[in-house]
């Protein structure tokens, strides 16, 4: 394993990004901010006149923001691991040309992984800055929300990569988006407490990485107390998803690209 | 018994097509009679496709007269198109539906009943030898198969007149011959064919009459034989010299041939007697590395008329 060669794969993605950044800006930057404004401020002002004036002890905006941070990490991971990887595998044949050089499949995989990390870091840091500007981060420890969100993104990234590298066409992506990404975005604790869901769906929600990511980001930015075992439990779920996802992803990559 | 000639299927006088400042078709006259195979021969950019699109009543005529089936495309477009078959240069096949459905839906565009459209689709797939691919996606078909499908599509409405724009460009020799064979069959059935091409062998093989187009104008017309007889000699002697430059030839080939063309890679001597010419070349001490005596072709006609070759 030559990390320098993996680094070149990363570099190639960075260069390509200069062409395609516009689309990702929308998902990773414009969209969460608009949601924050429409829901956080708009809906938030409605909520503040009701009996649930404060959610978990905070104004709705403050409650929503960390949830959106984690959710945005998930959507960024989806964006980076679905179409781009399939395109490189099948249509643009980028991997084919890279593998004609000394770079090996495992190094391509690590390179892709690193690129996803870079993107997640950029996106989450940007959104966190917006959160600070909106004054919804209540303690310095809140900055931990960034690595937590990145980890959440990686938890999804691994799983999505495993999925993409098995696809032969893009029809699976619409399904993934509609039946996994969007339901999670709306129902896994970002916009309202999971406890408001029927018991069955609560259980399902807790099986997914997003619910845990949201719980952790919310705990650090709002400085709500969380028992260490609970925190470790949440982290464990995220790490487990990331690890398993990447193991399977790497295996699929090797199988797909080793002729 | 009437002695008046049957009216031309296509009649054009002073036909002009302009795109902004650019004049693609610069005042051309031609007539196409029923039952003949008529060709527009010329290089890319000569104005052939623009002319075809005007005949096809899709592109509006800028100036001049054009009548198809005696009708004016400006006012009777749909009526004309109902009787035309079109095989365009770009495939424009529907990649989202099957091979058979491509033909079926095209038939529906002509307002054929669903049953009739299905029947014709199957018949035509048989005609172009694509029946086994009927239920397949279009994308994986080879270039030759796609072309055959496009030709089949052009026949869905059982047209009296078939327009083909560069029908075999980009095909391998086997595919080309299959296409030519099908076009011969159509000709024997009495379908009028109008085609454009920049391949001289295609023009010579398929066309009864053709016009040579260059830069929007017609520079010659007649049957392939007539054009060759009129604008070229019976034989052509091709000489190739070593790579480090052809020797200075001014005057050295004087009198050996009716006409000499010096091209970048070879020298052409147009003469009635190739053997005599090559003997004369050796007599004058010239040492070509290869020589070839062949018949004149339409390529030579085009070279004579425009100073350029058909395929750049």
């Amino acid at each position: 394993m030559n990390l320098a060669r993996a680094g070149v794969v990363l570099e190639r993605n960075a260069l390509n990004y200069r062409r395609t950044w516009r689309g990702s800006i929308i998902v990773s930057f414009v969209s969460p901010i608009l949601f924050l404004a429409a829901m956080g401020l708009g809906l938030g002002s409605l909520i503040s006149h009701g009996q649930h004036r404060l959610v978990a002890g905070y104004p709705y905006l403050d409650y929503l923001a960390p949830g959106l941070l984690a959710a945005t990490a998930m959507q960024t991971a989806a964006l980076e691991t679905m179409y781009p990887i399939l395109a490189k595998l099948m249509w643009d044949k980028i991997y084919e040309s890279i593998l004609a050089t000394p770079v090996r499949v495992a190094e391509v995989f690590i390179g892709e992984l690193s690129w996803i990390c870079v993107r997640l870091l950029i996106v989450t840091t940007t959104f966190f800055t917006v959160m600070v500007a909106f004054r919804v981060v209540h303690t310095p420890a809140g900055i931990l929300a960034i690595p937590i969100a990145v980890l959440t993104g990686l938890a999804f990234g691994g799983a999505f990569m495993a999925y993409s590298s098995n696809q032969r066409n893009d029809s699976g992506f619409a399904a993934l988006n509609r039946f996994v990404v969007i339901p999670l975005f709306l129902l896994a604790g970002t916009f309202f407490p999971i406890t408001n869901l029927p018991a069955v769906f609560q259980a399902i929600a807790w099986l997914t990485p997003l619910a845990h990511g949201v719980a952790l980001t919310r705990a650090v930015t709002l400085a709500t107390p969380m028992a260490p075992p609970a925190a470790l439990g949440h982290l464990a779920v995220l790490v487990a998803y990331a690890a398993v996802g990447f193991v399977i992803g790497r295996r699929n990559f090797e199988r797909r690209l080793t002729v | 018994m009437s002695t008046a000639p049957s009216p031309a299927l296509i009649h054009a006088r002073g036909l002009v097509k302009r795109f902004g400042d650019f004049v693609a078709v610069d005042g051309i006259d031609f007539d196409v009679a029923a039952g003949e195979a008529f060709g527009f021969l010329g290089p890319n950019g000569a104005g052939k496709t623009s002319t075809m699109r005007m005949i096809g009543s899709v592109s509006p005529v800028t100036a001049g007269t054009l009548r198809v089936f005696g009708l004016d495309p400006a006012t009777d477009g749909p009526r004309i198109r109902a009787r035309l078959g079109v095989v365009p240069q770009a495939d424009s096949l529907d990649l989202e539906i099957t091979v058979r459905d491509n033909l079926f839906i095209y038939g529906r565009f002509f307002d054929l009943s669903a049953a009739e459209a299905r029947r014709r689709a199957d018949e035509l797939l048989e005609f172009v030898q694509l029946s086994e691919r009927a239920k397949d996606e279009v994308e994986p078909l080879s270039g030759g198969m796609k072309r055959r499908l496009v030709i089949a599509r052009g026949l869905v409405n059982e047209p009296d007149l078939l327009l083909l724009d560069e029908p075999t460009t980009g095909l391998d020799p086997q595919a080309r011959h299959l296409v030519w064979d099908r076009l011969y069959r159509l000709k024997r059935r009495g379908v009028t064919l109008v085609l454009t091409t920049h391949y001289m062998d295609e023009a010579e093989q398929l066309c009864d009459r053709l016009v040579v187009m260059d830069k929007g104008k017609i520079v010659a017309h007649g049957s392939p034989r007539e054009l060759i007889d009129r604008y070229s000699t019976r034989e052509v002697l091709e000489l190739r010299f070593p790579a480090d430059g052809q020797p200075q030839l001014d005057g050295r080939l004087e009198g050996l041939a009716d006409r000499v063309e010096v091209l970048p890679d070879r020298v052409l001597l147009y003469t009635g007697d190739g053997e005599a010419a090559i003997a004369g070349v050796h007599q004058r001490g010239l040492q070509p590395i290869s020589s070839l005596i062949r018949r004149s072709t339409l390529e030579d006609v085009f070279l004579r008329l425009t100073g350029r070759s058909l395929v750049e």
């Binding site: 395609t20 689309g23 929308i26 414009v30 608009l34 949601f35 404004a37 429409a38 829901m39 708009g42 809906l43 002002s45 409605l46 909520i47 006149h49 009701g50 649930h52 959610v55 709705y60 029809s171 619409a174 399904a175 509609r178 039946f179 969007i182 339901p183 709306l186 129902l187 916009f191 309202f192 | 795109f19 699109r53 096809g56 899709v58 592109s59 509006p60 749909p78 009526r79 004309i80 198109r81 109902a82 009787r83 035309l84 079109v86 770009a90 424009s92 096949l93 529907d94 990649l95 989202e96 539906i97 459905d101 079926f104 095209y106 529906r108 565009f109 002509f110 307002d111 409405n157 059982e158």
Partner: protein, 267 residues
């Protein structure tokens, strides 16, 4: 034979042949119906997540008409409107562009008696049909959940079709100007704020006055206002304004679409 051909070449009124374009789209989607089917779930999820999930945190909404509504009742018609919009726009952006510029199937269609008007109307008609399927489904769900407060709710369906027609016309017109796939990022950039801020999740009165003026100039707001008025029974002259707005915008879109397609396809 010639007689039959003559009959077939009759200059049928524009629009009759448009049905063939719809037929073609049906043939395609017959095999890919899952795409249409799954598009139905998105507004449903928003209804569950925002309408009920967040709705449990929101007190009753007071609307200008004087009514007090449960939050889910307030949000549902807006989601119905936006699903009609999405159905129409998706169809007339990516899909239409693919057919127009990539496959060039309209060039092929125009070598038959079909005209540009038939093609434009057919594509727009199909987009409306697709949006309407979502609208019908959503209306059924709303009725089943008891979110329709008035019998006038049945009119929400033709209202959604009108909204779909407006967006399909604008979508088609806009796509004729698109040159590369990258340009469609702009579509997303416009659709998202439209979706979020057209009084979808909060009454328009909550926004600062200048923003309200801007919102009232946008089409989805009028669709939301119209459909919400119909499902909640708040019938008033404002709804007539909404209809007029949508009709005018549809006419403009249709005109531009026809002009542009003629310029692109009949050079």
């Amino acid at each position: 034979m010639a007689v039959l051909q003559g009959l077939r070449a009759l200059p049928l009124p524009v629009g009759f042949r448009a049905a063939h374009i719809i037929e073609r789209n049906l043939i395609h989607y017959r095999r890919h119906w899952i795409i249409i089917f799954s598009g139905f779930f998105e507004p449903l999820l928003y209804l569950l997540g925002i309408g009920y999930g967040v709705g449990s945190l929101v007190p009753a909404i007071h609307v200008p008409g004087g009514q007090t509504l449960r939050y889910a009742v307030f949000v549902a018609p807006a989601l119905m409107a936006s699903s009609a919009m999405n159905g129409a726009v998706y169809e007339t952006s990516f899909n239409f562009f693919f057919k127009l510029k990539h496959m060039k199937i309209f060039d092929a269609a125009l070598t038959t008696p079909m005209g540009v008007g038939d093609v434009a109307l057919g594509e727009i008609g199909w987009a409306v049909a697709r949006g309407s399927v979502y609208a019908i489904g959503f209306l059924v769900v709303m009725t089943a959940l008891g979110l329709n407060a008035s019998p006038s709710a049945i009119l929400a369906l033709p209202a959604a079709m009108l909204l779909g027609f407006t967006f399909a016309s604008i979508g088609t017109a806009t796509t004729t100007f698109v040159r590369t796939w990258q340009d469609f990022d702009l579509v997303q950039l416009i659709l998202l704020p439209l979706f979020l801020f057209s009084a979808t999740f909060t009454p328009i009165s909550l926004y600062p006055a200048p923003l309200q003026v801007v919102i009232e100039a946008t089409p989805l707001y009028h669709g939301v206002d119209l459909i919400r008025g119909l499902t909640t029974g708040a019938l008033g002259p404002g709804l007539v304004v909404d209809v007029a707005y949508l009709v005018v915008l549809a006419a403009i879109g249709l005109t531009i679409a026809g002009w542009r397609m003629r310029a692109l396809l009949l050079k």
